[in-house]
């Protein structure tokens, strides 16, 4: 028997040849290849794009961390002296960076200005508004559970009638983010599966169209591995090119929404700009495509190739 010589350079050269041959075959059918690549590109770009947007939302919400504060509404019978003392006591807590006392008169004044109900308020027999201590939690204690326990502790103080977390929506946004993140992961998983199916089906069609050729090659002594190789490389190329297409789609779409986002940010006098992990994604997307492509091709080849025997 003449077994192949185990020569590494020769082996690599042959792989390179098959690799280029598979690329050449995609090139020879530009239209259908391009269509497959675009579909793969969109399927990969969608979860990546959503992830980039989510990442930006997170960044924005992080910027607003110092806006989180807790308002303590004091009992009516707490004297201003007691309240001032409590204010400086609270400031000593490690979870609290800053405190500010606002007497019931100041609260009334603020309300008068904001509401424009001046004369109506004057007719009230006594000031219905409570005194407030505003506390600024420590940056490191902004996780929902830490905030929750701080909230419970200050609410348990005898002087405090009610503690209210301002910017509660920010925490909600965070937990919404988590949910959305999970949703995107699931979507990503489903779309990855569909990339797998797209490539698998494309390879299946390629195998069917080359049936007679496969028979001939097997008849002159090709092993299954040899017959498999060009199809695996076809999957490899579809995956990589699909990944690059995804990156291109993403870069284009994000640069399209970048300028309106900048304008919006200007309106809020924020220096926020969309950032997308361009370089990282340029590696990550083709790499994901590659893995899915080879895997999809492998599954398809395994299912369809062995049944094609010379007759």
């Amino acid at each position: 028997m003449n077994f192949p010589k185990l020569n590494l350079a020769n082996y690599l050269l042959r792989h390179l040849q098959v690799m280029l041959f598979s690329l050449g075959q995609l090139w020879r059918q530009p239209l259908s290849s391009m269509m497959t690549i675009i579909v793969i590109g969109i399927a990969l770009a969608l979860p990546a794009g959503l992830y980039v947007l989510l990442d930006n939302v997170k960044q924005v919400s992080d910027q607003w961390d110092d806006a989180t504060q807790i308002s303590l509404f004091l009992q009516q019978d707490v004297s201003p002296e007691r309240a001032t003392k409590l204010t400086s006591q609270l400031k000593q807590w490690p979870q609290i960076t800053n405190t500010h006392y606002q007497s019931s008169n100041q609260s009334l004044e603020e309300f008068r200005q904001l509401s424009g109900l001046g004369t109506l308020l004057d007719s009230l027999p006594s000031n219905p508004l409570p005194a407030i201590i505003i506390i600024q939690p420590n940056e490191n204690d902004l996780r929902p559970d830490a905030i929750g326990s701080l909230l419970a502790r200050v609410e348990a103080l005898p002087e405090v009638e009610q503690a209210q977390l301002d910017m509660e929506w920010l925490l909600r946004l965070r937990s919404i983010n988590k949910t959305v993140e999970r949703g995107i992961s699931i979507l990503g998983l489903l779309l990855s599966l569909s990339v797998l199916l797209i490539i698998g089906n494309t390879i299946r069609l390629a195998i069917l169209s080359r049936q007679s050729e496969i028979r001939v090659i097997k008849l002159v002594g090709a092993t299954n591995a040899f017959v498999r190789r060009p199809f695996l490389y076809t999957g490899f190329w579809y995956g990589i090119l699909g990944g690059l297409m995804a990156w291109l789609t993403l870069t284009l779409s994000l640069s399209l929404i970048n300028s309106p986002v900048n304008e919006l940010a200007k309106l809020y006098s924020s220096q926020f700009t969309l950032h997308w992990l361009s370089a990282l994604l340029l590696v990550l997307l083709p790499a994901t495509g590659l893995v899915l492509g080879v895997l999809g091709a492998w599954i398809s080849v395994g299912r369809h190739l062995s049944s094609i025997e010379p007759s």
Partner: protein
């Protein structure tokens, strides 16, 4: 070189194409396989090429028992056999050179060796000038010679052919047959299934004749 011992071949539709066949072909011999259409000639060659397996009996080729050869070894076994078909079985999107090179590429030969052997093989069948052509650009006889060049390029000890002259005029058929004789003269065992009695009766080689899957006569 090729031994058949009480070989039966029954297809999945229960049709018995070969029945109790026993014969052998010596190393370095050239023999013809004849018989009416449907006699089982192609079936017999398929057993040797392991395209089909015998239902009963033993087939020994080049000291290997085909009845017991595991599936994964079939590719390596087939590299010892050159096969020529009536309809050439060429790859139409590859050049003549690439078609002939196929068995060498599969066997993992290096680049230089492939070039050398393909040209030697094309030279033998008289097609050296056509290596860059596509098969469609060639005449039927030329295509058949490309098929022969491919079958002999890795110098297999056995050469099988199924109706290699089926589509060719008498003169071309004679050319092709003498090509097979040349390979036989350098030691290759050659076994050819053919209808062309007029041609092979002028040649001094043994004829094995099938009649409805049984051995009819040997001359």
């Amino acid at each position: 070189m090729i031994f058949f011992t009480d070989v039966y071949k029954r297809y999945s539709n229960r049709f018995e194409a070969l029945s109790g066949l026993s014969f052998h072909i010596n190393k370095g011999e050239m023999a013809f396989l004849t018989g009416h259409s449907g006699a089982g000639k192609s079936t017999l060659l398929k057993l040797i090429a392991l395209i089909e397996r015998s239902s009963h009996g033993q087939v020994l080729v080049n000291n290997q028992n085909l009845t017991r050869l595991p599936k994964r070894k079939i590719p390596y076994y087939r590299r010892q056999i050159g096969i020529v078909f009536q309809d050439h079985n060429l790859l139409h999107d590859r050049t003549v050179f690439d078609n002939v090179a196929l068995p060498l590429i599969i066997a993992g030969e290096n680049h230089r060796e492939i070039g050398r052997r393909v040209r030697a093989s094309l030279d033998k069948v008289g097609l050296l000038g056509k290596e860059r052509s596509l098969p469609i650009a060639l005449s039927g006889g030329e295509q058949q010679r490309v098929g022969i060049a491919r079958a002999v390029v890795n110098r297999p000890p056995i050469l099988l052919a199924d109706e290699p002259t089926g589509n060719l005029d008498p003169e071309l058929s004679r050319d092709i047959m003498s090509l097979f004789e040349q390979f036989n003269q350098v030691g290759t065992t050659v076994f050819i299934a053919t209808h062309d009695l007029d041609l092979i009766n002028t040649l001094p080689h043994r004829q094995i004749t099938l009649d409805s899957g049984r051995l009819a006569e040997q001359r």
